[in-house]
């Protein structure tokens, strides 16, 4: 069967050129501006204390639509803060998570999984349940930050494909689908011109 992901994230693969991939960039009107801020806080309550700093009310928000997909990037002050697919959940970029780490649930992988995560490979359950890993309780489909054993900063953003309980009991298969990792195409996309 064709294996279609619910989303496809072009920056996970090496080849990605935003100049060609961004179909259109638009400043959003104030009602949408409000809605975006609200959705961000709803999904990441931990972001609230920082919201006025990362998404100030007066600063324009730009939406970049990508070609050949339904992906959108949310850009404020030349920096990509979130991306999402259609009406899917907001996924923060690593630069945003580095700024306010408390906004998101953290899952820690052991040292053996570390090099794989740095290449954008999905996190398998044993990487979280072994003794170097740390599994924070979370339901399926939660957007999480992937941390490395002994590291201070997040190295990937992913979506839980199983709940933390399932991960513990099944202990095999894909636990977290990687959607963005350090040094991928999205990381390299900074100082966005809109």
């Amino acid at each position: 069967m064709l294996t279609h992901f619910p989303f496809r994230f072009p920056w996970l693969l090496g080849r990605f050129n935003y100049k060609e991939e961004v179909a259109n960039a638009q400043q959003v009107k104030s009602s949408v501006h409000r809605a975006i801020r609200q959705k961000a806080v709803e999904q990441f309550p931990g972001l609230e204390p920082y919201l006025d700093e990362v998404m100030p009310k007066k600063d324009p928000i730009h939406l970049l639509k990508l070609r050949d997909s339904h992906l959108q990037l949310i850009v404020v002050n030349k920096e990509v803060l979130f991306f999402h697919d259609r009406d899917g959940p907001y996924m923060p970029t690593l630069r945003l998570v580095h700024k306010c780490p408390s906004m998101i649930t953290h899952q820690t992988v052991d040292i053996g999984a570390f090099p794989f995560v740095m290449r954008g490979v999905n996190v398998m359950a044993p990487g979280l349940t072994s003794k170097g890993g740390k599994l924070t309780p979370a339901p399926v489909n939660t957007v999480v930050a992937v941390m490395g054993e002994g590291k201070e900063h997040a190295m990937a953003i992913g979506i839980m494909k199983m709940s933390s309980d399932q991960i513990k009991s099944v202990n095999k298969g894909i636990a977290i689908e990687s959607v963005h990792f350090l040094n991928d195409g999205l990381w390299a996309y900074k100082n966005v011109d809109v």
Binding site: M1, E53, N122, E152, H153, K161, G173, E177
Partner: protein, 200 residues
């Protein structure tokens, strides 16, 4: 509330603690040493320990048989299997994952394997063609295969040379899955992928 300011390496753009797995560890190391001795000590002293740990793990892996649990990797790429400690399942294209056990295997039986090569060619900017070479070795009717691809991937596909099928569009991921499914005699190890950069 104030935001955290993470210091990023001026060479590789990653947080300093990730320099050692970045693209240019040696340059990063030299740069940070010149910039800030204290930071240099902090980050690079424990890197050696981490690297050592990783090496140990790798040795363990190499020693263990390549028995990656054939667990159905559900939605993810069917391409490569996880090494024994269990971490993989690559995002879609498993282009450049150096996997030790596999490489060795390949060398041993290189003559025996009839190589099928998939090439992705960039025509202009966002347009691609995918070519498949080596199907004839398996006694596959090329014309029929080309029609099959055309139908399956909803795109143009034609035989264009001895043992060469050219498909319009980027069908690499789909082919990787579809080839072994449709022609069970082709093992996944026999499929090679290469990418040609645009000439323009």
């Amino acid at each position: 509330m104030t935001l955290v300011t993470v210091q990023y390496c001026p060479v590789c753009t990653l947080p300093y603690e990730f320099c050692h797995v970045g693209p240019t560890p040696e340059e990063c190391k030299a740069k940070l040493k010149a910039l800030d001795e204290a930071m240099y000590e902090k980050y690079w002293s424990n890197v050696r320990i981490v690297a050592q740990k990783l090496d140990d793990l790798k040795l363990d892996n190499a020693a263990a048989p390549e028995g990656a649990d054939g667990a159905s990797t559900s939605a993810s790429a069917s391409g490569e299997q996880a090494p024994a400690t269990g971490e993989a399942a690559a995002p879609a294209e498993g282009e450049e994952k150096p996997k030790k056990p596999k490489k060795e295997k390949k060398k041993k039986s290189k003559e025996a394997i009839k190589q099928v090569t998939i090439t992705l060619e960039n025509r202009n900017k966002r347009k691609f063609t995918t070519s498949v070479e080596g199907l004839a070795q398996y006694g596959i009717d090329l014309k029929k295969a080309a029609k099959l691809f055309a139908g399956r991937f909803a795109c143009g596909s034609a035989v264009s040379g001895e043992d060469l099928i050219v498909i319009q569009g980027d069908c690499v991921d789909d082919l990787m899955d579809y080839l072994p499914e449709q022609f069970p005699e082709i093992s996944e190890d026999a499929i090679e992928f290469e990418e040609k950069k645009a000439s323009a």
